[in-house]
Amino acid sequence: MSGAGHSSPTILRVNGVAREVASPPERLLLDVLRGELRLTGTKRGCGIGVCGTCTVLVDGVPRLACRLPLGEIGEREVLTIEGLAGHDGTLHPIQQAFIDAGAIQCGFCTPAMVLRAKALLDRRPDPSREEIRRALGPVLCRCTGYHQIVAAVERAAHVLVRGKT
């Protein structure tokens, strides 16, 4: 299972680092992240692209890692939950907002929710509540009723906008 083998290794740019991976190009990104790179913050909740817990950002766009073969990523940058906080452990304002707003319960959907929130706020710094709900819509949560997650994204938007001005 090591990098030595018949096919040449692929370079996967993930969380700001170019990683050499041995997985073949048809292997799903979810399995590469979880299996080979041990980035297990990306979850497998259904395996068929419905629950959304495997969401990662590819060049800032939310993608379902369980539906995305490694070979389709190419030079693009993958961001997983492990790459969001600073190297010194400082939380991203969205992460802090999730904690402050009580948006975390069992935590299984949390990484996907945070990444979807990031994709939204990067594009639309001051979204309406409806836009937030639309952005979070593809990720299932069974614990929260979504309200505290929506509130967390609103809180993060305030912090991020205020931080820029």
């Binding site: 297990t40 939380l91 999730f98 299984f108 009723g145």
Partner: protein
């Protein structure tokens, strides 16, 4: 510290993605286990054999034949086998297990296992079971049966001015925790095992594994892994999956992981019991309940599992929080050939809440009363007597939550406005439901559990709370430390909860029944008091301490024990007779009033829920933010049950085998949810707290059905309230596809406008 909302103790790890759930564990040499299941719903197994292609040495096969008498899962009854050996009772029943170094290899090996079954005639539906039983009582298996009698309901019904009858049904509901079921078993010492998994009840699994493996209790260790939601769905089945993994680990000598994929999880793990509830209620013209005759029929599926306890909770909540002098309740749980249902948040109570709260609105309509008026006329208050003869003595807040919800929703004004609105295609409605939930185990359950919790002082000076109650998202491992912090006046940071591990924590019971804060929290509070006393013994009166650490040092120097335990003691004056179903069914009840506002398209049957309000009395909110999250999440699960979540079967197999077909609410489906915390303290709860976890689930479905009835004039008595059912309910009257609305009761019409039938008996149609 009680009443404040500090950051959850598990928040940091979860937000950076470093929490390791069971599928995330890196275990060198781990093999993957899979389950081979029956293809038919009923039959007799002829053979289970590995053919010549089975890769012995590279894979292992385990069948039930080799297990003998230990092949029974210890639950309420020891009935269900880990692996079927003779009779097969449901499609998907486990028959054999295979493990191999990879999932791919395990699946390939499974192809070399031949299972032959002679099919026999199954029984698929509860309706069919009920009919069959009426014809021949011995023809249907009965998992459980019980009766509650107060007064003489039959006589009172004969004399009642008005009798209203109705039947209400609910389907199986899937817990839909987002993390699928999973465990890892390591081969253990002396025939034992070490289990880690996503589970709610470490000691349930421990008990089942000791029995299965026939080893000493100390040779089975069960640890809970961080659990990605459970809602009851990880109460009983981890004993089965844990047993499977342990058998495979014993067979192959490697650790074995079994993680269900979503398809397997949806199809074969327990769900909420399908139900049929019949009501016949005698009322006075002015809306007082005179007699209630209630029959609760649950579909218990293929094996007894938890059904007796679910049925018990169902009948005990069947009257709703209303007082009635004459009550006769008959509960029965019938056997069919569907996968055994189990625990799901509410545990029988949501089914009966849907029935009574729909029914009470129909009674209100018949008596020309508003929904709040009929409820207030019959509501439980201090001193009220329940169907089991229990006198409610404290923290009886049904009327308070009703008032809170009415005010917050502006219910009366909206009810009247919607009722008087023009009968257009798109119409709005508002509905409410008043519900209760007994905290902790039913009857003598807590006495029998005799839970023990402990608080220890660790070498680093931290206080460690040792319980077998798990964090599964509900915030228990934040709330329990808050209780200790409050009692001792120490910062939250120095208090932690041990990760549940049967070799490290005492048995404080399962993480179910809204009992963790109320019952186990109380034990922890008592442990904290013992510690405080010991510190005062060692370091003198508290006012003289320099700081907490100084007092701790004094305690250490004195050589006193650094671990404090408390065992459950029932509140004084509580008596329950399991045989007669008389007495105090629960030490105390929590109450909720849920209001749902929605709009309907009466042509297409579409429903848009606009707003839900839930006023919940839980005695005291330890962590208000967590409480609000529990209420919001529970309300949405209840709305899912009411509106979206369908479970249908074909040949005993659920049709909904993925999240594309089993629809749970998304962020776009969720309405605005307003949680209202009401605090009517309970003298025996920690800081006054009562049970919370299950309470918010009961009200949304009936409140929704009541709101749909107001908006559309169509009473849907079968959940979920789908567009198809709303359209079908409007199809009875071809001259007027849109039926008349129930009239609001602002100007009470005289009873003569709608006289009761002379006999007063019969299936009254509310809206026609």
């Amino acid at each position: 510290m009680i009443g404040r909302s500090p950051a959850r103790t598990d928040a940091r790890e979860k937000i950076v993605g470093s929490t390791r759930y069971i599928a995330d564990y890196v275990v060198p040499g781990v093999w993957q286990g899979i389950t081979l299941r029956s293809a038919v719903a009923a039959g007799r197994i002829r053979t289970v054999t590995a053919d010549a292609h089975f890769p012995h040495g590279e894979a292992v096969l385990v069948t039930g034949q080799e297990l003998g008498a230990t092949n029974r899962v210890a639950m309420v009854t020891d009935e269900m086998p880990f692996l079927a050996t003779d009779a097969v009772r449901y499609a998907g029943e486990p028959i054999a297990l295979v493990a191999a170094p990879t999932l791919h290899a395990a699946r390939a090996a499974a192809h070399a296992v031949r299972i032959e079954i002679d099919p026999c005639t199954p029984l698929f539906s509860l309706q069919e079971a009920e009919e069959r039983r009426r014809a021949d009582p011995a023809s249907v298996r009965v998992h459980a049966e019980c009766r509650i009698t107060r007064g003489d309901a039959a006589a009172a019904l004969r004399n009642a001015a008005i009798v209203i009858a109705g039947t209400y049904t609910t389907q199986a509901q899937e817990q839909a925790y987002i993390e699928p079921q999973g465990v890892i078993a390591w081969p253990g010492q002396r025939g034992g095992t070490v289990i880690e998994g996503s589970l709610q009840c470490p000691y349930y699994v421990h008990n089942a594994l000791v029995r299965l493996l026939g080893c000493a209790p100390e040779d089975v260790i069960v640890r809970q892994s961080p659990t990605g939601g459970a809602f009851g769905g990880k109460e009983d089945i981890p004993s089965v999956i844990g047993g499977h993994a342990a058998l495979l680990a014993r067979a192959c000598g490697h650790p074995v992981r079994i993680v269900y994929d979503r398809h397997e999880d949806l199809l074969f793990t327990p769900k909420r019991h399908p139900s049929i509830v019949h009501h016949r209620t005698g009322v006075s013209e002015d809306g007082r309940l005179l007699a209630m005759e209630i029959t609760v029929v649950l579909d218990g599926g293929a094996y007894t599992t938890l059904s007796p306890v679910v049925l018990s909770r169902a009948v005990l909540h069947a009257t709703g929080p209303y007082e009635c002098p004459h009550v006769a309740i008959h509960g029965v749980c019938l056997g069919t050939n569907i996968p055994p249902p189990g625990a799901f948040r509410g545990f029988g109570a949501p089914q009966v809440a849907f029935a009574i709260e729909s029914h009470i609105d129909r009674i209100a309509h018949r008596c020309h009363l508003r929904p709040d008026e009929i409820r207030r006329r019959n509501i439980m208050r201090i001193g009220s007597v329940t169907a089991t003869g229990q006198i409610l003595r404290e923290s009886v807040s049904a009327e308070r939550v009703l008032d809170e919800a009415l005010t917050a929703s502006d219910f009366v004004r909206k009810w009247q406005a919607h009722g008087a609105a023009a009968r257009q295609r798109h119409r709005r409605g508002i509905g409410l439901a008043l519900t209760w939930h007994g905290g902790g185990f039913t009857g003598n359950g807590e006495v029998n559990l005799a839970s023990v919790a402990a608080l220890s002082i660790e070498d680093d000076g931290r206080l460690l709370i040792r319980t077998s109650n798990v964090e599964m998202g509900q915030g228990a491992h934040t709330a329990l430390p808050q209780i200790v912090a409050e009692r001792l006046g120490v910062p939250l940071e120095r208090i932690a909860c041990a990760q549940p591990d049967t070799s490290q924590v005492p048995n404080s019971g399962p993480t179910v029944a809204s009992r963790t804060v109320m019952v186990v929290g109380r034990l922890i509070e008592r442990c904290a008091d013992q510690l405080a006393d010991a510190l005062e013994q060692a370091a003198g009166p508290r006012a003289q301490w320099n700081d907490f650490d100084g007092a701790l040092d004094a305690l250490r120097t004195a050589g006193d024990p650094l671990r404090f335990e408390a065992r459950y003691e029932p509140p004084p004056g509580i008596h329950w007779d399991e045989r007669t179903y008389r007495g105090d069914a629960y030490a105390v009840y929590s109450y909720a009033c849920t209001v749902v506002e929605l709009s309907t398209d009466t042509l297409t049957g579409e429903v848009k829920v606009e707003r839900a309000i839930a006023a919940c009395d839980i005695g005291r909110a330890i962590h208000p933010q967590v409480v609000e999250g529990q209420i919001e999440g529970g309300v949405l699960q209840g709305l899912g049950m009411g509106l979206l979540e369908q479970s249908t079967t074909h040949e005993g197999r659920f049709d909904q085998n993925r999240f594309q077909t089993y629809i749970i609410p998304t962020a776009l489906d969720a309405p605005e949810i307003l949680p209202i915390i009401v605090e009517d303290p309970y003298s025996r709860g920690p800081g006054g707290a009562k049970g919370l976890g299950e309470l918010p689930v009961h009200g949304p479905a009936p409140a929704l059905a009541n709101a749909v009835a107001q908006a559309s004039g169509r009473r849907i008595t079968d959940l979920p309230v789908t567009p198809e059912r709303i359209v079908a309910a409007g199809a009875g009257d071809p001259a007027s596809p849109i039926r008349d609305l129930p009239s609001p009761s602002r100007d009470l019409p005289s009873p003569s406008r709608d006289p009761a039938s002379p006999s007063g008996v019969g299936d009254e149609k509310e809206e026609a």
